[in-house]
Symmetry: C2
Subunit: 310 residues, 2 copies
């Protein structure tokens, strides 16, 4: 149990916690989604053994960082995690990054905080936040595509984020080239091994023996270096194929590109728009743009989930 | 205006009308989805010019075919059509088969019948009927895949049929092989040009100069004829790829195969299940089976839509 929040002229807030493979990003968020405090801390190695304790420590640090003039009354906690999530029962079914199976996250967090908690999926929650507070406002059919070390996906269809019993959105493992390189998932030629930041770095290194970040490769592509341009163009083609497939199957009309790779901005988006436009025939052309909330989408999504439930 | 239905000990019914490229399938359906009468008539060539009159004629014939002992009181009409449909406003936005653009189907039908009408999409309505009355009962994540001259698709995700503003479900035009044969849609290697009944017939004919139906080719494949087996296997591989892609992206756990090709039954489903099982790695394996309502799915779906609206 945390000590009770001070009473008096207080603002009700929720703690919104995004537990990632390397960092925990957290915020105190009031009902109008103003962020009163936020922190980023390393994810403890044993997070699976004590997620309640880790979240409680994060929340305590958040509360302590509220400026003295502002009194915040904590009323609940939203936690979002990667992997396979049972949102209804608050269970982390499986995360390869975080190393848990069937972890009752909600029960542990509620027991540590003594407050209601909800558990969601990081990318789906991020899309929910983008649709309420970010770049997807007013859209009802959206693909949210964070491109980083891996590639994730989430779909907003007919105005609702699709869960698929927790299984929806594995865009990174849609097979783009059945004869492509093997993917750790067991398939070959998944989008993730062709177009993630990690893939771009690996492919460039395998041909140049030079270890560069995806950001540097983007800069060299922009400057016209031939190998960088060709590696970048290959990733763009794979992303274009995946987007057109998703548009054809689901009718999304907005594609929000997020994650580290989206920081390349127009170096990525311009050729991607051209590639997609060249593939579409009868389909409704989607707008392709950067996501709006950056790496705070997940924690703001956690705030949406817990406020919705209170 | 139709003459009013006889009063007295009457059953309230709706007219459920599935307007296809070649046939209009229609039924009178009561509130418990008992079919009191049904008809199949050729689609008039000028249907786009007078859809209200065509539907009214169909409904009149249905009412006249009700056995004398049963008095049916018509209370509304559901119409489902192919192509791009604005379900909210009851507009047929575009149908290449039926040759219309921006046709106000609901207004025309309501004006002819003097009763409330709703307009839906044939395949999405068929999936709705399968989920309420057919083979998808109890499932919340379903791909419905009618395989006929063309290939259509509809998705039930988190318990709701996905509309995508009318654009969702163009599974037949997901590109399976970018270097494959051209598709009338303008892309190459669409599922429809690799695995529809029409494609199977065309591919077989191009290699044998023998004109056979897909059904006959299935029988020859089952009997071990080498060309038929190879053509059939190619179609199965394309379908398997499309199913795995859909499972990965959306999390569907039930695939219902409908349309003419599904009449091949296990000759299609057995190798298709094997192909899909061989592709999946981490994904949740879907059940793959025949749809339950056959060619009545669309009209029963039209009945669901109009009963829901009344």
């Amino acid at each position: 149990m945390l000590p009770p929040s001070p009473s008096g002229a207080t603002t009700e807030v929720v703690a919104a916690v995004d537990v990632g493979g390397t960092r925990i990003k957290a915020a105190l968020v009031d009902r109008s989604y103003t962020v009163l405090a936020q922190t980023t801390t390393p994810t403890p190695a044993d997070i699976g053994a004590d997620i309640g304790g880790a979240v409680a420590a994060t929340v305590k640090a958040l509360l302590e960082s509220v400026p003295p003039g502002q009194a915040a009354q904590l009323v609940g906690c939203g936690v979002v995690v990667p992997g396979l999530v049972d949102e209804e029962d608050g269970i982390g079914i499986y995360s390869s990054n975080l190393g848990w199976r069937d972890l009752d996250i909600r029960a542990q967090v509620e027991s540590f905080l003594g407050l209601p908690a909800v558990v969601g999926h990081d990318v789906r929650a991020g899309l929910l936040a983008e649709s309420r507070l970010g770049a997807a406002g007013g859209h009802r059919q959206v693909l949210f595509m964070p491109l980083g070390t891996g590639i994730a996906g989430a779909l907003l269809l007919d105005g609702s984020v699709v869960s698929g019993d927790g299984w929806a959105g594995e865009l990174g493992h849609v097979v783009i080239d059945p004869s492509g390189p093997p993917c750790p998932c067991g398939q070959r030629g998944c989008l993730e091994v062709l177009a993630s930041a990690g893939a771009i770095e690996r492919i460039y290194r395998s041909q140049s023996h030079e270890r560069l970040s995806a950001e540097d490769i983007a800069a060299r592509a922009e400057a016209g270096e031939s190998l960088a341009s060709s590696v970048w163009a290959g990733a763009v083609r794979a992303l274009g194929q995946a987007i057109v497939m998703t548009v054809t199957l689901t009718g999304v009309d907005l594609v929000l590109v997020g994650g580290g790779l989206s920081q390349s901005g127009e170096v990525l988006l311009r050729p991607l728009r051209d590639d997609v436009a060249g593939r579409l025939t009868f389909q409704r052309p989607p707008t392709i743009q950067r996501a709006g909330l950056g790496d705070r989408a997940g924690s703001l999504g956690a705030a949406c989930l817990i406020w919705d439930s209170l």
